[in-house]
Subunit: 261 residues, 2 copies
DNA sequence: TTCGGATATTGATCCAAATCAACGAAATCA
DNA sequence: TGATTTCGTTGATTTGGATCAATATCCGAA
């Protein structure tokens, strides 16, 4: 079977018009990911040969919890939100920003996804057949090491998130969230929220109504939010209220590959 | 420096009388762990050569969050509880039962622990120098693959736990906890709780008072708890209330190596 | 541009869960 | 054995957060 035939079958399988073979311009972006940067050129080439790239509009489901991981996915442009459901309830677990992979654990173990994923913007996603990824893992030690680093980092990110949920009140979670993202503030201490408040509330495990009230409460604690503009007016006061901790919020450098919003 | 000298230094470092070089009887138990079972004999031997074993009374702190991972630890007998603290609050994150390892992620990445660990019973713990573990990872592909499997499983366990926290009420968490452990019930549907209610409450992220009330509430839903004896009187009724889900509670087989209580 | 829908805010109310307080039952120890 | 402490339960009360309802605001499409 030629690779062209394989591609054709894949096209039919996923039943979508807008599919491309790996665009040359995308390759360097992928290559620079920590997960792939140390890989043998030969392994990387063979991995990329079987891959393809797809463009999606916003609000498209990419994966559904319970499904089998046919592909390791890489967000090249746009953004993907990982969420989970149970008994009619739904919660945002994380958001993946370019350029990074998601659902690596399911791919490596070849077990069903624990989370669903949908685009939150017009997005460009690369799909690497899971079989090829596992094959690359078996043949390339550098890649194996990178997979371990990535998985360990993902694990630690969820543990930190779990501590955040267990040990803090919702307003404390909000305050620390704002501090974690203060890195992109300008010299006046302003930055854009870059996420809908509805989505943010879900990620922080609170209702949109309570998020509004939390924002109002924080106005007396060194931060003012107007629309999507966050303005840190008194970083010390905010820190005093939020009590950020490295072992929960992570050092800036350790901000994870499977990025936690 | 001879290995005897190194051992002596280690003895001084940890400042505890009750230290042994690897007891021969412990080796097979370790060897059978999924993490080590596929390892080259040679690598395994060199790993075990640098290891030692220690006995602890209950309530002893083995690791403290923020510390550097000098050793990969393996619980051989007894039990270890992983917990985390922030701003005077404390929460039980997980319990590790024999025979399994913990804090593998910190060891592999050589970054500070995110959780503290203390014995919850008289325990026997093996300590493998982190450097040796990372060395073994670099030289033994089977081991590398096993590490990935273990890390992926740990990651998924925390994700499931996070879903449990986010999507369920405290009584729902309790009900599903009881179902998850129903595997060890006898034919009458009875089993022992095997954990103090105080600790269980902390793990379920609720107060002891509320746990008591939750238990009472569940008496009308197919389960009766008397002291430490759990009696599933109506499994269907309990399941109807708890709505257990594979993607949160895991299939029995997938019960994790870094065991979630 | 206006319309219609999603999104955000505010207030009122309700509910789950934490806290406070008291007490009985085990377990631990002298 | 009795004394002391820890653990578990129950009741009363408070509080954080959810829900319900009403309005305001933003945004995208015709």
């Amino acid at each position: 079977m030629t690779s062209q035939q394989i591609l054709t079958i894949r096209l039919i399988n996923i039943n979508c018009e807008n599919v491309y073979i790996m665009r040359t311009a995308d390759i360097p972006k992928i290559r620079e990911l920590p997960l792939f940067s140390d890989m043998d050129q030969q392994t990387f080439d063979s991995l990329v040969r079987g891959a393809y790239v797809q463009n999606f509009p916003p609000q498209v489901d990419l994966i559904t919890e319970g499904d089998s991981p046919d592909f390791l996915q890489v967000v090249i442009e746009g953004g993907v939100e990982l969420f989970a459901s149970w008994d009619g309830r739904e919660t945002v677990m994380a958001t993946v920003h370019p350029v990074s992979t998601f659902i690596l654990a399911a791919t490596m173990k070849d077990v069903p996804y624990l989370m669903s994923g949908r685009t939150i913007a017009k997005s460009r996603v690369m799909l690497l057949p899971s079989r090829d990824v596992r094959l690359a893992f078996d043949t390339d030690n550098s890649f194996a090491r990178a997979v371990v680093t990535e998985l360990a980092e993902c694990y630690r990110a969820v543990v930190r998130n779990s501590k955040d949920l267990r040990l803090r009140s919702s307003v404390e979670r909000l305050a620390n969230y704002l501090i974690r993202h203060a890195g992109r503030a300008d010299r006046d201490g302003r930055y854009d929220l870059n996420i809908g408040k509805r989505r943010l509330a879900s990620y922080l495990n609170m209702t949109p109504e309570n998020l509004s009230r939390g924002i109002k409460l924080l106005q007396g604690n060194g931060v003012r939010i107007d629309g999507s503009c966050v303005h840190i007016t008194d970083a010390d006061a905010l820190a005093k209220f939020a009590k950020p901790a490295t072992l929960i919020d992570g050092p800036a450098e350790e901000m994870s590959p499977e990025q936690w919003i």
